[in-house]
């Protein structure tokens, strides 16, 4: 419990310290914060509810498009756009959840894939509004809170994304520490028995689904605002897979998985894309295999095991 609190503090301190530690990489920092947020939202489903989905990009993309379109057509205020993006994804989560959550395992994976494809095709077809295959252009965000203009160094963008992530983490943390979070774990561990305890399993999962979708939508909105562009691949099966890989890499259902997985994935991607551009997916694949076999709980579990050893040796 005390360790958890200290690590929570470390996460928040890390977000705050990043601009000092890597002042030249604020763009990268913002991108990572957005991916962490997206992977964290997926963790609610994969890690806590035990629902494997390949559809998370549908929510990310819905948030990105909603925020982008809102910026182009209604208001360029970032915070308002964030709310719009989150709300749009939550609505999609609510509607798709009713259908998807009737199934589990392979069927759920297939239905979640279908959701992404449908949303992607909708974005593609509805080109007049979304920009179709060319992407959504013409987003020009007004200054954050009316005061801080998005600058070239990416400082404002980073602070904006990191602050949003920090708030989202506080929410995520209180959710997983709550009785609700614990009942999701119960559903993950033995869904049938939860029914026999009187748990409204369907309603619990739908709630988790909507919250997860909303957070992914906020991540998408951030991306649309920070890059002032939404590409069609924000709603792709490929991106869905990448988020899942980041989460598994970091460790699902372990609170900090997204914070380790997303940055490591991005680093690897950038590094490998530079060093061995032809084969970088191969390396990512090999790394995943290594994680699955050597540290089944992902990097979080690996780090925890090392920490336990060090502590054991000391005492």
């Amino acid at each position: 419990m005390r360790t958890t609190r200290a690590l929570d503090g470390l996460v928040l301190a890390g977000l705050a310290a990043f601009p000092m530690l890597a002042p030249g990489s604020l763009d990268l920092g913002a991108r990572m914060a957005i991916l962490v947020l997206c992977a964290m939202s997926l963790d609610l489903l994969v890690g806590y509810c035990g629902l494997i989905t390949l559809g998370h990009a549908a929510f990310f993309g819905a948030g990105a498009y909603a925020a982008g379109i809102f910026a182009v057509r209604a208001s360029a205020d970032p915070v308002a756009g964030l709310v719009v993006g989150g709300a749009a994804a939550a609505l999609l989560g609510l509607l798709s959840g009713v259908v998807l959550l009737r199934s589990r395992r392979l069927t759920l994976i297939m239905l979640s894939l279908a959701t992404v494809l449908i949303v992607q095709e909708a974005a593609n077809r509805w080109g007049g509004v979304t920009g179709g295959a060319d992407g959504l252009q013409g987003i020009a965000m007004s200054p954050l809170l009316g005061r801080f203009a998005f600058d070239l160094s990416g400082r404002v963008a980073y602070v904006y994304a990191a602050t949003t992530l920090a708030f989202a983490f506080l929410m995520f943390r209180s959710l997983v520490d709550s009785r609700f979070g614990q009942s999701l774990v119960g559903i993950r561990e033995n869904e049938a028995r939860m029914h026999a305890l009187g748990t409204p399993v369907g309603a619990r999962l739908r709630t988790a689904f909507v919250i997860s979708a909303a957070l992914a939508g906020v991540a998408g909105a951030l991306q649309a605002q920070v890059t002032e562009f939404v590409a069609l691949n924000a709603v792709s099966v490929e991106f869905s897979g990448e988020i899942l890989i980041m989460l598994i890499l970091g460790g699902a259902g372990r609170r900090y998985g997204a914070f380790l997985g997303a940055p490591v994935y991005v680093f690897m991607q950038d590094y490998l894309a530079r060093e061995d551009p032809a084969n970088w997916y191969l390396w990512i694949g090999l790394m995943l295999l290594a994680i699955v076999f050597l540290a089944p709980g992902g990097l979080t579990a690996g780090v925890a095991a090392i920490a336990r050893r060090i502590r054991g040796r000391r005492s």
């Binding site: 209180s174 709550s178 614990q182 009942s183 119960g186 029914h195 305890l197 748990t199 399993v201």
Partner: protein, 251 residues
């Protein structure tokens, strides 16, 4: 009018061509102590599943306190007051004993849907869990993962989960099956101490236990109620003696 705590009205269940329950009638008054006996494969577990809402009957109705609950989902029936144990232990194996119980207690207290940590709810959950652990002598195992416990202790956790729901009607499906002799006492002690207002249906093979516990015994054979009555009536029932008691005595 409010009828019996539980009433099974002409319930039948078919699995393919197999009739596992045939026009079963059963009624439990508030505070009833009823035993359900019958050979293996008689359909006892299936009847528990039908009452608890895990299975839907092919025909017939289930009523609780004058209310038809036949269409009510399992979880809603739990909220309405039905609790049950499983013949084959059915727990949250990777969670600790304490966490297992907290899931049930939180649900029973209506706190399980709370989206943020709540100190007061937590205190009352922890208190109730501690009480259950002490009552069933599980305190020493509180922090251990269920899958690491001996099966006998897991059976006690199984009972604890059902009791934690504070049901009005409790269905116990062979609660002592697989429990070492030394620990059986803990289970039946707990069962004897259940609140007198709780209606209990106990499935149990040990006839001595059955006759000590029950004021009424129902004998199920091949999905049908063969006999029903006081322990004395049942022990004198010729067909039951031939079919069941004779066998059981030889075991």
């Amino acid at each position: 009018m409010t009828g019996a705590a539980l009433e099974v009205r002409g319930v039948s269940k078919r699995f393919g061509s197999l009739d596992v329950a045939r026009n079963v009638q059963l009624s439990l008054e508030e505070g009833a102590r009823c035993a359900l006996i019958g050979p293996n494969g008689a359909g006892k577990t299936t009847l528990v599943n039908l009452i608890s809402g895990r299975l839907a009957p092919t025909a017939g109705e289930i009523w609780m306190s004058g209310r038809n609950v036949t269409a009510m989902p399992e979880a809603a029936r739990v909220k309405a007051g039905i609790g049950r144990t499983f013949q084959i232990t059915n727990l949250f194996r990777r969670l600790t004993v304490e966490e297992n119980l907290a899931l049930a207690v939180a649900e029973q207290l209506g706190a399980a849907g709370r989206l943020w940590p709540d100190r007061r709810a937590r205190a009352s959950i922890d208190g109730r869990v501690a009480g259950m652990l002490a009552m069933l002598r599980l305190t020493d195992h509180a922090g251990r993962r269920v899958e690491l416990l001996p099966y006998g202790v897991q059976r006690i956790v199984e009972l604890a989960l059902a009791l934690a729901l504070a049901p009005k009607i409790l269905l116990l499906d062979e609660p002592a099956a697989g429990v070492p002799r030394a620990d059986v006492g803990i289970i039946f002690e707990a069962i004897e101490q259940l609140p007198t207002s709780m209606a209990v249906l106990l499935i149990e093979h040990d006839i001595d236990v059955v006759f000590r516990f029950a004021t009424r015994v129902v004998v199920l054979v091949a999905g049908e109620v063969l006999a029903e009555g006081s322990p004395r009536e049942i022990s004198e029932h010729p067909q039951v003696r031939a079919l069941y008691l004779g066998d059981a005595r030889h075991e």
